[in-house]
């Protein structure tokens, strides 16, 4: 398959301007990089307090030695190698070496327990394991008692591994030494194997941590990943001058993509932190230019900044809040390249020197020109906070099966509530139920040894079901609203996406949880759980007195506060053609927090709708019967396992609703 020559390749020398279609596998790309960028850093790792680096030439040498070592031990094409550990250069090299010999690497989550690994090893029939350290080796030995198909365990860190069986547990260096001997007699073996590789070969099997049932192994080919990596790099203008910090779990497609696939395609440098504990510092030292993060991390970073600023001196605090105000006002406009008044431009400049740049440095963003966030919905507030101080934050949408990105946000069209436009060569369409389907060169081959699941996820024409409901807004940007199975319909036939509305509510710090109802009903109603900390704090500052959570939740002032939040959400929803009828008409504040002990939410804080409908049926009825209040007795489980009942009279309020913009105009 031929690909467009990307912009970054324009800089390459004539010598390397070979036919690009030959570079269809990662080993070929690596070999190419070793001649194209021999002295550019390819990998760094902080060890013994110093950043050690390996150029592309070194990278290739290390990989070759290891690959030859595997070859000397009779490695065959199609053999599978499992990788267990944190992001270490040698694990990436092992991945590359495996692919060079036509094998298939299978990275796994370092923190999985032995039982979970056993499933993957048995399912994938891995024969060789490359483990980071003693902890992982011990896990593998435990697994091996049940599945003897493991016949070689290779380790990176030799600490504590002296007394292990030397025929079974072998160091990475030892294999490399063997490889350096092997190559003397078989100088062309590796080259031939690399040349034999095709784009349609399996590059990697990534096991997705399924929330239901056993994990599924997603089979991705070299072409899948190379095409997606090229398309995205071209879209964002990534090149060999970039750098990333490899800190995401190696088994996650995003790490595979950023720390491996794109690194090979673009030739940029991947930096491995010293240990997970030192990540924050290491990130500041490296200053990655390209970064992937999650809303949860951003949230904790922002909270951390705010708390630390509370403790700062008065001058600093004033300066901070003043310039943050400036950023809030004009930061987004500047980021998007819109006209801003002269005064504000000057103020923003000063703010940049005094506040924004130091802040970015502390967060490790001083050189970052591209930051992705994905995984869950991000509050517009938080999104804009980071964008305003000059961090180039963008949302992406994708999944392992798409290897991995489906849509990206073009520069100057970054929105907090959309995920952007389909990347080059990827088509996205919506099913009649509003489910997002996509098709393109990145689409996975199959779920390993699971044709049933494959056929239900992928249609004959190559469309993949995402299970997400979404729609395109008027700019042509995809907006993801909920899982398809949760999306319902109001009685008037309009769409109702509970999670979308709930997320909007939860973006307010005062609201901890929200549960909305509306499927097969005339209008939308909501249960609200206040955030005890945030609302308690708010009440304290206002001098409101309350004795218990229940009393606080029922306080008229608190009701007013929450009502304001809901009105804002309603106003926001009214701008949305499709979801304007999802505005909340009536709500109540629950007298107790939803609790996993009572089965109302899962341990990972996902609302269990069925349990809630069952337990609070009376309240739901009251919401739809128009009653001003309702009495309820609820059984609760205390932490020591005893059960008790709490009863309360809950007030139900009506909210202001807005005429949809589309209809009004």
């Amino acid at each position: 398959m031929a690909y467009k020559i990307s912009s970054f390749e324009d800089k390459t020398t004539n010598e390397s301007m070979v036919d690009k279609s030959e570079l269809d596998t990662f080993p070929k790309l690596l070999r190419h990089n070793a001649t194209r960028l021999p002295d550019r850093p390819a990998m760094r790792e902080k060890e013994y307090g110093i950043w050690q680096s390996w150029s592309w030439r070194d990278y290739y040498e290390q990989v070759s030695a290891f690959a030859n070592g595997l070859a000397s031990r009779g490695f065959k094409r199609g053999d599978k190698v499992m990788l267990v550990g944190q992001n270490r250069p040698r694990l990436y090299w092992a991945m590359s070496a495996t692919q060079s010999l036509g094998g298939i690497p299978i990275p796994t989550y370092a923190d999985s327990v032995a039982d979970e690994m056993r499933y993957v090893i048995e399912h994938a029939e891995a024969r060789i394991v490359v483990a980071e350290d003693q902890e992982q080796v011990d896990k593998m030995l435990e697994v091996r008692e049940h599945c003897p198909n493991i016949d070689l365990i290779i380790y990176d860190d030799n600490r504590g591994l002296r007394d292990y069986d030397p025929n079974l547990v072998i160091s990475f260096e030892k294999i490399q030494e063997e490889g350096r001997v092997f190559v003397i007699n078989n100088p062309d073996y590796l080259q031939q194997n690399i040349d034999q590789g095709k784009g349609s070969d399996t590059a990697v099997i990534l096991y997705t941590s399924g929330t239901t049932g056993k994990p599924k192994g997603v089979v991705l080919t070299h072409s899948n990943l190379v095409s997606n990596a090229k398309a995205c790099a071209e879209f964002e203008g990534l090149n060999e001058n970039d750098s990333v910090v490899a800190y995401l779990p190696m088994a996650w497609v995003v790490d595979y993509f950023i720390s491996y696939a794109q690194a090979h395609v673009c030739g940029y440098c991947v930096c491995c932190p010293e240990s997970p504990d030192t990540l924050v510092h290491d990130k500041i030292e490296i200053g990655p230019t390209y970064h992937f993060t999650s809303p949860r991390v951003l949230e904790s970073q922002r909270t951390d900044i705010m708390i630390r600023m509370e403790d700062a001196g008065a001058v600093k605090r004033k300066m901070f809040s003043f310039f943050l105000g400036v950023a809030e006002c004009v930061g987004i406009d500047i980021a998007e390249g819109r006209e801003v008044s002269f005064k504000n431009r000057i103020l923003f400049r000063i703010g940049k020197i005094l506040v924004y740049e130091p802040l970015k440095n502390v967060l490790g963003y001083s050189r970052t020109r591209l930051t992705y966030t994905a995984g869950e919905a991000i509050g517009p507030d938080m999104f804009n906070f980071f964008r305003a101080i000059g961090i180039h934050l963008k949302q992406v949408y994708g999944q392992t099966e798409a290897s991995p990105f489906v849509t990206l946000q073009p520069n100057n069209q970054v929105r907090p509530d959309t995920v952007g436009v389909p990347i080059t060569d990827v088509e996205v369409k919506l099913s009649e139920q509003g489910e997002v389907l996509y098709r393109g060169p990145g689409v996975f081959q199959e779920y390993f040894k699971n044709p049933e699941a494959t056929s239900s996820a992928k249609t004959e024409e190559g469309w993949v079901h995402t299970g997400d409901a979404g729609f395109f807004d008027n700019e042509g940007h995809l907006k993801i609203i909920d899982r398809t199975k949760d999306v319902g319909k109001l009685n008037d036939g309009s769409m109702f996406a509970p999670k979308y509305v709930e997320n909007k509510l939860k973006f307010f710090s005062q609201i901890l949880e929200a549960v909305t109802f509306g499927h097969d009903k005339d209008y939308v109603t909501a249960f609200i759980n206040i955030d005890h900390g945030a609302v308690g704090d708010w009440a304290e500052r206002r001098g409101l007195t309350y004795a218990s959570y229940q009393e606080l939740a029922a306080h008229p002032e608190v009701y007013k506060l929450i009502e304001n939040c809901i009105v804002q959400v309603n106003q926001d929803l009214s701008n949305d053609e499709l979801l304007a009828s999802s505005q909340i008409r009536r709500f109540l504040i629950l007298h107790k927090e939803l609790d996993p002990d009572d089965g109302e939410i899962t341990r990972t804080r996902k609302v269990r709708r069925s349990t809630i409908t069952e337990r609070y049926g009376v309240l739901i009825d009251a919401l739809y019967e128009g009653k001003p209040s309702c009495h309820i007795d609820t059984e609760v489980t205390f932490e020591d396992g005893r059960k008790g009942t709490i009863s309360a009279d809950l007030e139900i309020r009506d909210c202001e609703m807005f005429i949809p913009m589309a209809k009004a105009s």
Binding site: Y48, G49, D277
Partner: protein
């Protein structure tokens, strides 16, 4: 474990040590040896003289009677810093780190006895001093890596939790590259998880660096697990000496720990 070394590799031997403070006999006629490469535990009830014994070994106390033999030669009465140069390092029951200094600097102080360049060069921070410091820093970084304390490299020690301070202290002792490492209650006051970590480090130090270790410890489970041989003291006298199993079944030891009707 008892296969380590043999009797010809005696690293340290104490012969008939008696130590008294005024009228109090802290140690009475104690003899035992420490073999190259072993983990040797000294146990005993409170006031048995364990810490005094360590203080004799590292030269802080000078016994009224008896001899200390190191590497097959009788040791003269030396000051603690001279003994440190002979390759004996220790940690303390109550942590004795420089609280205001970072972990890294604390570990670097462990290298002082090994530094050779003179004060003038060091003050100028040029030439041999610089080169030497880089070498020492490298060694210290290996220890930081070994003890997994990378994340607190630059943190002032006073701000660290107790368990980590203990680990830093072990690191400083290791930085001296001792032949014999004396640990005075390395696991006192730790929770189970910290104890397990510390046990692992003690064993790893012994195995990876080949350092001979003499330790005092109260947690019998720990002692019996990790030590090769145990010497038991009670009221300044030696009650028993042998491998953990022998000591465990020794009637005198059981009496000393559980008490006997008088």
């Amino acid at each position: 474990m008892s296969t380590k070394g043999n009797n010809s590799d005696v690293l340290l031997e104490v012969k008939n040590i008696s130590l008294s403070f005024g009228g109090v006999n802290a140690l009475t006629d104690i003899s035992f040896d420490v073999i190259q490469g072993e983990i040797r535990a000294i146990i005993g009830p409170n006031g048995a003289g364990k810490s005094s014994m360590l203080n004799v070994i590292n030269g802080f106390y000078h016994p009224q009677q008896g001899e200390v033999w190191m590497n097959g030669a009788k040791r003269k009465a030396l000051k603690p810093h001279q003994i440190a140069r002979q390759g004996i390092a220790r940690t303390f029951q109550n942590i004795a780190l420089f609280k205001g200094m970072s972990t890294l600097d604390n570990l670097m102080t462990g290298r002082v006895t090994l530094m050779r360049s003179n004060m003038l060069w060091q003050a100028l921070w040029k030439g041999p001093a610089e080169k030497e410091e880089i070498q020492h820093r490298e060694r210290v970084e290996h220890i930081i890596d070994f003890l997994e304390i990378q994340s607190i490299r630059k943190t002032p020690v006073g701000r660290l939790p107790y368990g980590l301070q203990k680990r830093v202290e072990l690191g400083r002792a290791l930085a001296m590259e001792p032949k014999l490492l004396l640990l005075d209650e390395p696991m006192a006051g730790m929770n189970i998880e910290e104890k397990e970590d510390m046990c692992r480090f003690v064993i790893d130090v012994n195995e990876e660096f080949g350092t001979t270790i003499t330790l005092i410890e109260h947690d019998m489970g720990v002692v019996m697990d990790i030590s090769d041989r145990v010497v038991v003291l009670d009221y300044g006298r030696k009650l028993a000496d042998g491998v953990p199993d022998e000591v465990r079944s020794n009637q005198d030891v059981i009496d000393a720990y559980l008490g006997v009707p008088h």
